[in-house]
């Protein structure tokens, strides 16, 4: 902290003055050195700070650039008042056009894209989990819209508390696991970045405790942690209205201070993994829990749909597993802000300077013609343009690599495999009507028109349903599925490697396809046949050019153990489908 370091520096300066000691940098540097370093840091980070305004220029807030191509983070309660296109000022004094990309209404985060440059200055994220009470921080932003040249205002403070939870304001704006600071935060700072004293971006300032002293700095403001933002940012790039996650079990703090599971839905994944009321929840999302508040705090940083690790303890011992988070709100449209966040127009007068958080009623804002195509409206999306952009980026190369197999679209695949570790062999046959699995012990068959979890092989659970989806993806134009949505980047369980996810709805079957940039072909798929049953979780490795692209290995994730078992593909045969066999076949309708 500057004050105590300042005091030390003061004493040390005195010592230096009497010429007895010489200190290097670090905690021993003098006040003058510290100030010089601070000035340099601010000069380095200020160019990434954005002044976010509605096209009409009244009101506004702050933001921060996170990439050279212009992506910037702000608060939902700032951008929701700005419209789909907005104006952004940087400290070079220039005004840029920007378009809304994605929003997270619950977490009060919005992703916008500044336009017109590919070399925007941007900030470097730090590790907000390492932040401690007492750390020095710098808040940059646009309080009271003071700077007409968009030079950000800098306020200094310390971290007052970490892992803070702020109850939802109104219905949905909820700040969990946030950083409490005493740096001065005022209207207009909203959406602006919080930096540590070395200039690493650690949060977005969005909220403060306001009470009897009015809506101005009260010494207690809250920043959304960068950890949470980084978990959402690649989902926000999808142009969706990104939802937060919930679990289908509840916890409370037991009398002995442990975090005890209270209720568990009996059709939930957690129940199937053995979680029962009374069990102790030891950790969630890789963080140890000491109270039910801890659980609420950590749960709030995750987007819906991702897998989160947890550890629970019952009389048999400790168990580790993962659960996929369910959607918290399921927004169809960007929700309305609570009343207190809405603009308070003063009758008979202009908007006061100090109401930059206020959404603004822009009258027919002028959008430059070259940018109008960058926004597309669609239900449950913030900006469908960006979803199409990323979906096509992933699926067009896939289509391209499958183009040569056009004539084999409806062919039946016959895959001979060997389970390398225990020398079990078998065959997997997939066609337009169903998929069959033959092992030395069992045969099982999953028909396309009547998919049942009970048809799956107990040895390799889910392989048949997953293989059917795989066959459908490779034979169909992806646009023919009822829904194809780009989700964003996430960490694939159990390997933990980053992948990009495309969600496909095919009748009642939902699948999540995973891609990385090594190949246009997928690295895996998780298939949900119906609620109440475990997902089929299949991984692919070593795609080869065959008549249709075929993997060298097929991985099956065991839902109980989270272990990945690899089937080595010994032979992959493609048999063109007999031309007279088309009765009652839904694929025959596919052009």
């Amino acid at each position: 902290m500057a004050f105590s370091r300042g005091i030390c520096g003061f004493f040390l300066t005195g010592l230096l003055f009497i010429g007895q000691l010489v200190f290097a940098d670090g905690p021993n540097e003098t006040l003058v050195e510290r100030e010089r370093r601070r000035v340099q840091t601010i000069a380095r980070i200020a160019p990434s700070v954005v002044c976010v305004m509605p096209p009409g220029g009244q009101g506004g807030g702050s933001g921060v650039l996170v990439s050279a191509d212009g992506y910037a983070i702000s608060n939902y309660h700032v951008t929701s008042g700005c419209g789909n296109f907005m104006k952004c000022g940087l400290n070079d004094g220039k005004l840029y056009d920007a378009v809304i990309v994605g929003v997270d209404p619950t977490g009060d985060i919005a992703l916008i894209k500044l336009l017109g440059r590919e070399d925007f200055p941007f900030c470097t994220p730090g590790d907000s989990d390492q932040v401690q009470s007492g750390d020095e921080v710098l808040a940059l932003g646009n309080p009271f819209l003071l700077a007409s040249d968009f030079t950000p205002t800098v306020t200094y403070g310390i971290v007052s508390g970490i892992h803070r939870y702020q109850y939802p304001a109104g219905t949905f704006l909820e700040y969990t696991d946030c950083i409490q600071i005493d740096a001065s935060i005022n209207p207009g700072n909203s959406g602006g970045p919080l930096f540590d004293i070395d200039g690493r971006w650690i949060g977005i300032n969005g909220r403060a405790s306001f009470e009897k002293r009015g809506r101005i700095n009260s010494g207690a403001a809250y920043a959304i942690s960068v950890r949470q933002i980084l978990l959402f940012i690649d989902h926000l790039k999808s142009g969706r209205i990104v939802d937060h996650g919930r679990t289908d079990f509840t916890v409370g703090t037991a009398a002995d201070g442990l975090v005890a599971v209270q209720e568990v839905s009996e059709i939930s994944e957690a129940w199937r993994r053995g979680l029962r009321p009374g069990d102790e929840l030891v950790s969630f999302g890789s963080r140890a829990l000491t109270s039910a508040n801890d659980f609420k705090t950590i749960l709030g940083i995750f987007p819906a749909g991702i897998r989160v690790p947890l550890t629970f303890r019952n009389p048999e011992g400790a168990h580790k597993t993962t659960v996929r988070l369910l959607p918290l709100h399921g927004f169809d449209a960007a929700p309305q802000l609570p009343e207190e966040r809405k603009p308070k127009k003063r009758p008979g007068g202009p908007e006061p300077d100090g109401q930059p958080d206020s959404p603004h009623q822009a009258e027919a804002p002028v959008i430059p013609e070259q940018y109008t195509h960058l926004f597309k409206e669609k239900k449950s999306f913030t900006n469908y343009y960006f979803n199409q952009l990323h979906r096509d980026r992933l699926l067009n190369p896939l289509r391209h690599s499958l183009a040569e197999t056009e004539s084999n679209k409806t062919a039946t695949w016959s895959i001979s495999w060997k389970l390398s570790d225990d020398r079990v062999t078998g065959d997997l046959i997939v066609g337009t009507e169903g998929a069959g699995l033959r092992t030395e012990k069992n045969n099982s068959y999953q028909p396309v028109n009547d998919q049942q979890p009970s048809n799956e092989s107990a040895d390799l659970w889910g392989v048949l349903s997953a293989a059917l989806q795989w066959h459908r993806l490779f034979q169909s134009d992806p646009d023919l599925f009822s829904e194809v949505v780009y989700i964003g980047t996430e960490l694939l369980a159990p390997s933990g490697r980053p992948v990009e996810t495309v969600f496909i709805q095919d009748g009642a079957v939902e699948s999540r396809w995973y891609f990385n940039d090594e190949s246009p072909l997928p690295v895996g798929v998780d298939v949900t046949m119906s609620a109440g049953h475990d997902e089929a979780r299949i991984r692919f490795d070593g795609w080869q050019n065959n008549v249709v692209p075929s993997p060298a290995r097929i991985g099956v994730v065991d839902p109980e153990t989270e272990q990945l078992r690899w089937l080595t593909v010994e032979a992959f045969d493609v048999k063109p489908r007999a031309t007279n066999d088309n009765a009652g076949n839904q694929e025959s309708a596919v052009p």
Binding site: M1, F3, S133, G134, R164, Q180, D182, G219, S291
Partner: protein, 345 residues
């Protein structure tokens, strides 16, 4: 534990002052965090009853191993049924050990099992700070932390040391000794009773209430110096009543609730707000008030010719009568005014 930590930090600071910086330098950054951790380890969150704009939560500082807690003598203490949450999340019922009006201080005691101990601040090992020195303020402001989460820490500088002419509404800040005025917004909702330390972690004061300056109407952020509280805390812990020499001269004397009950036999409604009307809640049998004919439910309107607007008004008006002097008390009883003559006890 914390006293140890604080002592260590103090020693560090003293060594530094002595110029032996070479021995200390490596521990300086740690010391800063130790100061923060230490402060967070001794501040408790108080929860009780609030009314209107008065909060139902506050702060206190552990000042003994056995669980004595120093806090501001405010409505939370007056209304009773207080709960304290200590830094590790344990909850305790709280009893009031003693209070002192002229220092605006109360000492509480956690209801504990015999063998339970707590980290605490050594209130005897305090120091003076000068204007310009950096300080840390620890409190349960805005009840951001409710369980085992550490309380909030705010940094600031002592702006000056002055006697405050301040208050809130009709309530007048009773402390006449100089207080530390701070440049940071430390005195928020629920912060009263929090801890002020030097940046090195030496305990130096108790955070005060949310009050405004009489002349400027500005909110004042202040802390009562711990040094001035030492004799008060010592007296309360000893079960003695403390009164300073200065208080009789320039301060309006006011009867405490306890004096009012012990002397006159009158117990008033709890003074929840500054303007709580002076309703008599209880009359001690055979007391001065009982003999004179005062009854439960009487609303005291006047003492002599002076209008009584509140319980604190009454406690002020009833002070300063010599023993045996007659006092005319006008009360509203069943929508009728009655004047009753008391003998000062």
């Amino acid at each position: 534990m914390n006293t140890r930590v604080i002592v260590k930090v103090v020693v560090c600071a003293l060594l530094l002052r002595c110029g032996r910086a070479d021995a200390i330098v490596a521990s300086v950054p740690d010391a800063e965090y130790l100061a923060v951790r230490a402060g967070q380890q001794v501040v408790v969150k108080l929860f009780g009853a609030g009314v209107g704009t008065l909060d139902s939560y506050g702060s206190g500082v552990l000042i003994s191993k056995e669980g004595h807690v120093l806090t501001v003598w405010n409505h939370l203490v007056n209304t009773g049924f207080l709960t304290a949450v200590v830094p590790d999340g344990r909850r305790f019922r709280v009893n009031v050990v003693g209070t002192n009006l002229e220092h605006d201080v109360a000492v509480l005691k956690l209801e504990t099992d015999d063998d339970e101990t707590f980290d605490f601040v050594d209130w005897k090992a305090t120091a003076d700070v000068l204007p310009g020195e950096s300080v840390l303020a620890f409190s349960n402001m805005f009840h951001v932390a409710t369980g085992n989460e550490p309380v909030s820490v705010v940094h600031g500088v002592v702006a000056c040391t002055v006697s405050l002419d301040a208050g809130l509404g009709r309530w007048i800040f009773p402390v006449k000794n100089p207080v530390y005025v701070l440049d940071a917004i430390t005195n928020n909702s629920g912060a009263a009773g929090g801890l002020l330390t030097s940046s090195a972690g030496v305990p130096i004061g108790m955070l005060g209430r949310e009050i405004r300056h009489r002349d400027t109407d500005m909110w004042v952020n202040y802390a009562v110096p711990l040094k001035g509280l030492q004799p008060v805390i010592a007296a309360i812990l000893d079960g003695r009543r403390y009164s300073s020499n200065t208080s009789t001269q320039d301060q309006k004397s006011v009867l405490s609730d306890r004096q009012l009950t012990a002397g006159f036999g009158i117990t008033l409604l709890p003074s929840i707000v500054e303007t709580t009307p002076a309703y008599i809640d209880r009359i001690v049998t055979d007391s001065v008030a009982d003999v004179a004919g005062l009854r439960r439910g009487d609303l005291v309107l006047m003492v002599g010719d002076d209008v009584v607007r509140s319980t604190s008004d009454l406690r002020e008006r009833l002070s300063g009568f010599r023993r045996g002097r007659p006092i005319a008390v006008t009360v509203n009883r069943n929508e009728k005014l009655e004047t009753i003559s008391l003998r000062a006890p």
